[in-house]
């Protein structure tokens, strides 16, 4: 007993030294923390979809004078951390934000794995966890386990089945033939999608003439494209990640892979993709999408460019921003920064965002964009799980 008291006394001393004198003052700002990759393999995606939107949101909210909580406006103060693409660091960062910086809200990190790693901690402290950049089929299981968790970007099944659906539609219209080549990156996203996508394609009556996977980070994909080319497919589907999305497209262009439909995964919707491939991007399908024609979206793209100096991508950027808007509106509606109430508000509300109206059904946004296509320099959503504004897909006509 005495020993543990001694321990306690010593540790308290230690803690007070380490924490320093955290002054207790009347709350006039809302502290928002985000830990995501600034370095490491995930930093490429994070740099496009996450960090600029946090900046934009901070700018927009504070320009208005802050988030309206009850009768006063509270500006947001941002705390940034780098998780180095590693779950251990992510957990540590979130612990630090909650306990040391005493942030009021935490913006979810980037990446499925990292979001799952931090979920238990956020659940323990009862922070709302709007996990944007995590695509999984086990969403229902997770949200049951961690009731504070929300998923917005969609399910693997949704993405993979859309590919089959769109291709089926095009085939049924007589635009493309029956042979498909399917490749995927050997990483979480790619594998899950391939595992759902291949049966879906087969079910839709397609013949898979070539299939393979390649390791994450591979940039020399000539064998893959050539392998696919030799199988003479009508459509090419790659569940790919940023560097290889670019490399596959480049190689397909060089090898002149003659397909009517060409699908590559994450990062197809990045502005850099269009910048790199120019007119050759015409008709290329990719994961995700938005309806870029809505006024909200147009305004969003404009301010994104103005505030952050870079262009938003045509998918996760807007979704990420929308999730921040959800949080903002939930706080305003709840009229408090009290977590249970904010979570409750998110669960039950409908939110007006750049993506249109968002509601959560069992903590999951079930209406999301699954597939888009470059058409005349813009990436249009061509398939979704029940959203408006789906554009009609076109066939790919060459690589010029």
């Amino acid at each position: 007993m005495r020993v543990s008291n001694l321990c306690k006394a010593m540790s308290i001393g230690l803690i007070s030294v380490m924490i320093g004198f955290s002054s207790v003052q009347a709350q006039d700002v809302i502290k928002v923390g985000m830990s995501a990759a600034k370095t490491g393999p995930l930093s490429g995606g994070t740099a496009v979809t996450q960090w600029p939107n946090l900046k934009l949101w901070e700018h927009t909210v504070n320009a208005k004078g802050g988030i309206k909580v009850g009768d006063k406006r509270m500006p947001v103060k941002i705390f940034e951390y780098d998780d180095r693409s590693h779950p251990t660091d992510a957990v540590k960062n979130i612990q630090r934000m909650i306990n040391k910086d005493k942030v009021d809200f935490v913006v979810a990190p980037y990446g499925t794995g990292i979001n799952l790693a931090v979920a238990p901690i956020l659940a323990k402290y009862g922070y709302p966890h709007i996990a944007v950049s995590s695509i999984t089929d086990k969403g229902d299981e997770f949200t049951k386990r961690w009731p504070n968790m929300f998923l917005t970007l969609g399910t693997s099944t949704g993405f993979a089945e859309s590919v089959a659906d769109v291709l089926k539609k095009m085939r049924d219209q007589g635009k493309i033939g029956n042979k498909v080549a399917v490749v995927n990156v050997a990483d979480a996203f790619g594998i899950e999608l391939a595992h759902v996508g291949k049966p879906a394609l087969e079910k839709a009556g397609f013949e898979i003439v070539y299939e393979t996977s390649y390791p994450l980070g591979t940039q020399d994909l000539a064998p893959v494209i050539n392998g696919a080319k030799n199988a003479k497919p009508d459509a090419f589907v790659a569940f790919s990640y940023p560097p290889d999305t670019f490399a596959l497209t480049e190689q397909a262009k060089i090898s002149n892979l003659e397909v009517k439909a060409f699908y590559v995964g994450v990062a197809t919707c990045f502005p850099a993709f269009e910048k790199r491939f120019g007119s050759a991007a015409q008709g290329i399908f990719g994961a995700g999408g938005i309806n870029p024609d809505t006024p909200e979206m147009k305004a969003y793209f404009k301010s994104h460019l103005e505030v952050t100096g870079v262009a938003a991508d045509y998918w996760a950027s807007a979704t990420t921003y929308a999730s921040l808007q959800v949080l903002e509106q939930a706080i305003e509606r709840a009229g408090t920064i009290d977590h249970p109430q904010v979570i409750k508000t998110i669960k039950n509300g409908t939110f007006d965002t750049v993506m249109g109206k968002i509601t959560f059904d069992g903590n999951i946004n079930r209406k999301f964009w699954t597939m888009g296509q470059w058409q005349d320099g813009v990436f249009y959503g061509v398939a979704s799980t029940g959203l408006d504004g789906e554009k009609e897909p076109i066939i790919k006509t060459g690589w010029k």
Binding site: V3, R96, K100, D187, H195
Partner: protein, 316 residues
Amino acid sequence: MIKITKDEIRILLYMVVAVAILACLPLLDQGYILSLGLTIVMYVALCTAWVLFSGPTHYISLATAAFFGLGTYVVGIGIDVLPFPILLIIAALIGGVVSGLVGIATLRLSGVYFVIFTLGMAELIRQIVTWIQTNFTTGIGLYVLTDFSEAHIYWMLLALTVLIFITGWLINRSRLGFAMRIIGNDETVAAHVGIDSAKAKVLLFLISGAYIAVIGAILAPRFAYIEPPSAFNPMISFLVVIMSLMGGTRTLWAPLIGVVPFTLLFDMVSARFPNHSSILLGIAFLLIVYLIPDGLIGRIEGITKRFSKKKERTHE
């Protein structure tokens, strides 16, 4: 040599007290400090396990991530089927077997060849695991959903660290430890006094690898979602090497002296300067290399030596 000296008893007592105090940490804070503490204990455990082998042999192994990842995967695969403690034992066995095989394969290599070989081995294992998962299972990620809190993981790691220390201490007192000291001094002499240095090294590498695998296994519940890039993160290997070298590799305690300031510094820098942390860390690194060439332990030993010399002189 077999006798336990008074000094050793005193150190043992200190250790018991220190561990007892450290074990109290989760009672006081379940948040940030515990999280930081967990990271520190994890790296102390990893570095100490690493030093078990690399300290006496001077071989720099970059295979840490491989054994760590294997341990993590054992738990990832088995968590729904087998009880956790059994998984830890399996992890130790697999880690031991694989590190033993790697050890046997690398006997002929030394210096930078060994360094790169172990790095290559780690990547190879990672690629094979990825490939197997891609082709024979339904998803690449594995979920480890348990009821372990950070405190549980912290305690397990602390206990394991103590175990590693005790192992190290026992090795040091054993013929194996004595043999390693001789090998570290002069391998030719070692051979000529009858030491099978190959066997001794493999044995140590095996012990070290088994422990690292267990550490990975213990941490699996904290990852919750396991995929090759995070389980086999080569950064773990690098950080372990760096922290250990920073502390010094000559004694079991030395890594401890490297891990604690390094983790705190890392944490401080990444918290204060999230956008410039790489730059600052780079500079910190270079400063460490130039200003503390022997590792921190070397510095401390230097100071205590000077101190004891002074003492001697005053006695005279």
